[in-house]
Subunit: 345 residues, 2 copies
DNA sequence: CTGAAAGCGCTTACAG
DNA sequence: CTGAAAGCGCTTACAG
């Protein structure tokens, strides 16, 4: 490792001056700057991040705390964050909590969970990151971040009521509104729904969007064709079976994620019904599988990369602003129109 | 942040002694140790990782350099690595190069690529990680890691001939052998292949495994039913079309990844042929889509998590051993038998 | 415009 | 068994 000291020797100026040049301070003559910069380039000098972090107030580093990188949404969000941050000259450091991998589901608010979160924050505080982005695996209310943490903080893909902590979320309500309208086309129809788990925020908001769309078209809300799923493909299969048994004529089936839509496809297939021909089916998420279902599934794309970029921009704004009143953001989803929805003539 | 100094004041012993206790040195009286340990617990002291890294030789930290976390294999591999490392008391730090996101394909051996790799290594060297694991996005020969890097290094999901650098790979040849035998069942059959890109290592090894299996069953290798794909679902579609046009009777189709198998399904569907009934189809990777294809696709699972665990164990062995002659590892893949292969009676 | 010096929070010989 | 001191590679007032 080449150090400031060696740079100083090679260039014949003091360590302090080299440091000033490295940090873009203006109190250096152009001549000196040029010469030293040359030597820096030649030697391929890289600042020692730890030494800098130990001494300086800013490390130009953002810490990412992520629920679990194996969640389908996480890698893309992270890429969005890193892309924007890199563009702005910040490094990024990632702590993977592995909650889903370790504990499956239902770990929210357990003691172990709180301890893990706390420990991750402590670590980033020790490293003196300039800010922290919490990347959630799914929409939930995040309330367990120690209040004493003073570092600028942004919550990504979840909500929080924590003071001074903006969050970036998708607009689930609008997305479901859009999709319901799409399913409706220009007629009044009977659109069944397979929701996600009951108290899940995605479920609640999407149901609201669905209801609003019905209302806008003067269609009455019918609870009997709303079934509660659990996001798994089997629950899509099972609820589709029940819906078809209970209802003679169903125009469309709106599944609140692609997995359940895939399950519904499976049942429909067994029943000899063709999605997009005999019944409309829509999903949500636009995961890999959506394009490969037969027929390809019409679904809502979640702009993961964009969410990440926005989270990054928000933390940067927070770091650089005085007021610190950054807005919560609701990112719009995009309807991907494939062949599983019947088109009106 | 509470520091060693404060700990020292509170407990009435010197900073050095507190440090010794923290590091489990034996040269401290039980009484002192107990008292100080108590205070450490009370205060919730966390060592400043940067200060320690600046001074000490070991940081108990492993650096992960990953091609791109959006590659389908990466999150699971990373989870395997982190799981094992956490178990052994090591932290982990991740640098995401985002090669695929930034440059698509064909970036290997470009100048930008080399610079990015070099920079990542420099950074981890500055941080004084105890070791580095390079997590590749696909099998390739990795030859651009600066020789001057002296840190223990393991290459994961790729090859390297670099001195003193073990790698963890899957056994592509054995996997293809297994699958070909499975496709063969107990009879001689005509098994067509859609390979990956031509000089790709996965392609080469899998083709070898395929040939060996044919040989073992006394079947002659027929180049005319081997088509070169490019891993995309379209190339699966197109090559399937060509194969079916050129050959009247094909028993089976072995696609070297699931995406191409999905493309083949698409063509088969258009041609009125049913996988698992009219023709056997097999994929490779066991990605999400494999289970949701209709019928569900028989494929090879790549034990990603296990690969990660093995990489972690190897780097640990390397750090703690004197000889440093760690073995390259070839992990076996697992055949996932679903409904796309015709069973012999 | 330039540099000497203090100090960030630790670890590690070394002396006692 | 315990502690004073040097030093890791930097940044930052401050003096000149």
């Amino acid at each position: 490792m080449i150090t400031l000291k060696e740079l100083s020797q090679k260039s014949g100026v003091s360590i302090a001056t080299v440091s000033n040049i490295l940090n873009g301070k203006s109190n250096v003559s152009d001549e000196t700057r040029k010469r030293v910069l040359e030597i820096i380039k030649e030697t391929g000098y890289k600042p020692n991040f730890m030494a800098r972090g130990l001494r300086a107030s800013s490390t130009k580093t953002i810490g990412l705390i992520v629920d679990d990188i194996t969640e389908f949404s996480s890698p893309q969000i992270i890429n969005g964050i890193m892309s924007k941050l890199e563009e702005k000259g910040y490094r990024t450091i990632l702590e993977n909590l592995r909650f889903y991998t370790k504990w499956g589901h239902g770990w929210e608010n357990t003691e172990d969970y709180k301890k893990a979160i706390d420990s991750a924050f402590q670590e980033f505080i020790a490293i003196k990151t300039d800010g922290i982005i919490y990347v959630s695996g799914h929409a939930r209310e995040i309330s367990d971040i120690p209040q004493k943490v003073q570092i600028p903080l942004v919550v990504c893909y979840a909500f929080t009521e924590r003071e001074n902590t903006p969050f970036i979320m998708i607009d689930d309500e609008d997305a479901a509104f859009q999709m319901t309208e799409h399913l409706l086309g220009n007629r009044k129809k009977k659109i069944a729904v397979i929701t996600g788990t009951e108290s899940n925020i995605h479920t609640i908001k999407r149901l609201q969007g669905y209801k609003k769309a019905l209302q806008a078209h003067g269609i009455e809300y019918d609870e009997s064709i709303i079934k509660t799923g659990d996001w798994s493909d089997n629950s899509g299969y099972e609820n589709c079976r029940i819906l078809l048994k209970e209802n003679e004529k169903l125009s469309a089936l709106f599944c609140f994620n692609d997995m359940m839509a895939a399950g519904a496809y499976r049942y429909l297939n067994e029943a000899g019904l063709i999605p997009g021909k005999d019944i409309s089916v829509a999903g949500f998420d636009n995961r890999d599988i959506a394009a490969f279902l037969n027929p390809p599934l019409t679904t809502m794309e979640i702009p993961l990369f964009l969410i990440g970029e926005n989270a990054a921009q928000t933390i940067l704004d927070k770091i650089n602003s005085k007021n610190g009143n950054e807005q919560n953001l609701y990112i719009q989803c995009k309807l991907i129109d494939r062949n599983s929805v019947i088109k009106d003539k």
